[in-house]
């Protein structure tokens, strides 16, 4: 089994989707009545599927044979030497389609087929969830429409082409800030009119109940695998684990297996953009406050009147002014620590990992690497070289080469200093 979909933790939501109970009030379902029946139907179908061994076995088989899971846990030795602690990378970048997102979409698409629906819709920021959704739709023979902000279609043109090649319809969204949050709005507008035959493959562990919990269940294999791999190899659990947090699906996927291991420190690294003391960031937990966005109560970047503030991150996949409600719960209970990492720190980490390990990470994942290296240095000072930190390398950086070329000034033939040969 790559994933323990039936397991629970002390930090799960109640039956109405409240993390920490209705008193804490994280999560819930702030949605139009028109969608409540569909969300109820989905909740029932998800519970039944999770309890059905044949569903779980089929999900597991698809993850193994099609998506290439379980992903390896890799000891990054040169990076470890650099910081003086043991750095382990959960290699989700090696998954089919290049990121952890494939776990979520295959789970949701399998559930869609089980529910007898024939069409899926999805929103996407960086395009990774869009590509994953288009892939899962092709795999299961479902129609697929992906909503993507026009700002993002420009910065992620390669992923738009991939979705087209996979047979999906990509609808550019020009309303609002024309980024991920507006793509979600447009997908919800589609869904309210198409809900009888369409499933909404939500791309992150946010949104109305049951999405935060259901997406977590489909991605928690990251942590389940990593925990076992670490124990099998080293006989101990890591001292700390780390992931980047935009909406938070890769993070909750890693964290879940460790939530009830009190000795494991948990770190989420948020996109600090140009700095959390500037208006240009997307560090929702660090700098936002309590509000309701896209159907859940969580931390939101908002103004005095509750209008959503446009977020910024160099990484399209983290550029979201909200965050999954379970992260709000983990942050306020102190179980996990969320810290900002700037664009510049993430890009430095992208270059560092590329050169020390030969792994080009997604800029999203580079946030986790940057933040985790600081934690690793601290841990090394406290506990010596056996201190172990496990980082979720949630995706690969191929899609980000456009940004990297611009940021680092790469690939300009005029900058080639060597004499031609041959």
């Amino acid at each position: 089994m790559t994933t323990r979909v039936e397991a629970t933790t002390s930090y799960d939501a109640d039956e109405n989707g409240w993390f920490g109970g209705p008193e804490a009030g994280w999560g819930g379902r702030f949605m139009p009545e028109a969608l409540v029946a569909a969300l109820d139907e989905l909740t029932v179908a998800w519970h039944e599927a999770m309890a059905d061994p044949s569903f779980v076995a089929e999900f597991d088989a698809i993850l193994r044979e099609y998506a290439g899971l379980p992903s390896p846990l890799y000891h990054a030795e040169r990076l470890s030497q650099l910081v003086g602690a043991r750095i382990l990378l959960k290699r989700e970048d090696l998954n089919h389609t290049g990121a952890h997102k494939i776990r979520n979409v295959l789970g949701q698409a399998l559930l869609t087929r089980r529910m007898g629906k024939t069409r899926v819709i999805a929103e996407t920021g960086a395009g990774q969830h869009g590509v994953a959704s288009a892939t899962a739709a092709a795999y299961f023979g479902l129609d697929c429409t992906v909503y993507m902000g026009t700002v993002d279609t420009r910065r992620q043109a390669l992923n738009v082409a991939r979705m087209h090649l996979l047979g999906a319809t990509v609808v550019p969204v020009d309303s609002g800030s024309a980024t991920l949050k507006d793509a979600i709005n447009e997908a919800l507008r589609d869904w309210v009119a198409s809900v009888d035959h369409t499933a909404y493959l939500f791309g992150t562990a946010a949104g109305p109940h049951p999405f935060p919990s259901m997406v977590r269940d489909f991605t928690r294999g990251i942590g389940d695998e990593a925990r076992r791999q670490c124990l099998d190899r080293y006989g101990v659990l890591p001292d700390a684990i780390a992931a980047c947090v935009g909406g938070g699906s890769n993070a909750i996927g890693l964290f879940t297996a460790f939530l009830d291991d009190p000795g494991v420190a948990i770190f989420g690294f948020e996109p600090g953009g140009e700095g959390v003391d500037t208006p240009r960031h997307a560090a929702t937990i660090h700098a936002g406050d309590r509000g309701v966005l896209h159907g859940a109560r969580t931390f939101v970047l908002q103004d005095e009147d509750g209008q959503t503030i446009e977020s910024h991150s160099i990484s399209a996949g983290l550029d979201y002014p909200g965050v999954g409600p379970q992260h709000a719960h983990l942050a306020t209970t102190g179980r996990a620590t969320y810290l900002p990492v700037t664009d510049a720190e993430a890009m430095d980490a992208m270059a560092l990992l590329s050169r020390t390990e030969g792994i080009i990470p997604a800029i999203e994942s580079a946030h986790a690497v940057a933040g985790a290296l600081d934690v690793a240095r601290r841990l090394a000072a406290e506990r010596g070289p056996d201190a172990t930190i496990l980082i979720n390398l949630s995706g690969r950086g191929d899609k980000d080469m456009g940004t990297a070329i611009e940021y680092f000034g790469l690939g300009n033939p005029d900058d080639v200093t060597e004499e031609p040969v041959g």
Binding site: P32, E33, A37, V195, H294
Partner: protein, 274 residues
């Protein structure tokens, strides 16, 4: 006059009530007030003032465009309350239609032990507002709003949809005060060429659970459609068509107001034919 009185008065005239919507601050705050007053003068029985919000998931392109214009001009929630005050002063009952977060986060959310919801309810009541329509808040998620509305004697208008189960319709109407908002179609706001065949059965299922008046919204744009809906509902709710009348005259406010008045008169005639 209260919302219930306005519906009762229409019923006494053997007709449906006409409920008209425009977002506040469109084309600007003063222009929005003029437009809403023109709708009152030409025959709207109840006014819905929209609170423009950055993430309006239930709205189609027309209302999105108007709300975005209001936001781009920097409208604040206090301007919306000012609009309510000016329209309610005409004596026509005036409610706010809003997504939930601006209510919960009114004035920055909880301050000095008072929640944003409580302060919003207090300020809406002092502005003379009659209540709230909450398109993304269902009664099972609304205990805080229901308590605040009850404290301030405000109407709570929740939505029912064609996809609602009978159990949920009963739960929803039990929490409503003023009227029940029935969404005629599965979809976002916007004018449609034909009225929905889902609305009639929904109204019947709703009436089976409550004596409150039932208003039908989403898609109505002319007097003939209003007459059709008025034949089976207590209220006809129109939004996007009013917004369209103003959007079609971006550079000539007087022409926009004339178009708005003419549309109101056509719809007011429609609800009397139904």
């Amino acid at each position: 006059m209260t919302v219930s009185t306005a519906f009762a008065k229409a019923r006494a005239d053997d007709r449906a009530a006409l409920v008209g919507y425009l977002p506040a601050g469109f084309p600007d705050v003063a222009g929005g007030i003029d437009a809403l007053r023109a709708m009152v003068d030409a025959g709207c029985d109840v006014i819905e003032v929209g609170l423009p919000y950055s993430d309006p998931v239930m709205d189609g392109p027309t209302i999105q465009a108007a709300a975005q214009q209001a936001l781009d001009r920097g409208i604040r929630t206090t301007d919306v309350l000012r609009t309510v005050e000016a329209v309610a002063a005409t004596g026509t009952p005036t409610v706010i239609m809003t997504y939930w977060n601006p209510v919960e986060h009114y004035g920055g959310g909880r301050r000095n032990g008072r929640s944003g919801v409580e302060r919003f309810a207090a300020d809406l009541a002092s502005a003379g507002g009659a209540g709230l329509i909450t398109p993304d808040l269902t009664p099972d998620s609304a205990p805080e709003w229901i308590a605040a509305a009850d404290r301030h004697d405000l109407d709570k208008i929740f939505l029912v949809a064609p996809s609602s189960t009978d159990e949920r319709i009963a739960m929803t109407t039990a929490a409503c005060r003023g009227f029940v908002y029935a969404t005629a179609v599965m979809g976002v706001t916007g004018a449609r060429a034909t009225t929905s065949d889902l609305a009639g059965p929904l109204v019947a299922r709703t009436r089976a659970t409550t004596d409150l008046p039932v208003g039908v919204g989403l898609g109505v744009s002319n007097g003939d459609q209003a007459a059709t809906v008025a034949s089976y509902a207590d209220g006809v709710i129109v939004g996007s068509a009013f917004v369209r009348a103003l959007l079609d005259h971006p550079d000539d406010r007087a022409a926009g107001l004339r178009a708005l008045s003419a549309l109101t008169a056509d719809l007011a005639d429609g609800v009397r034919r139904g």
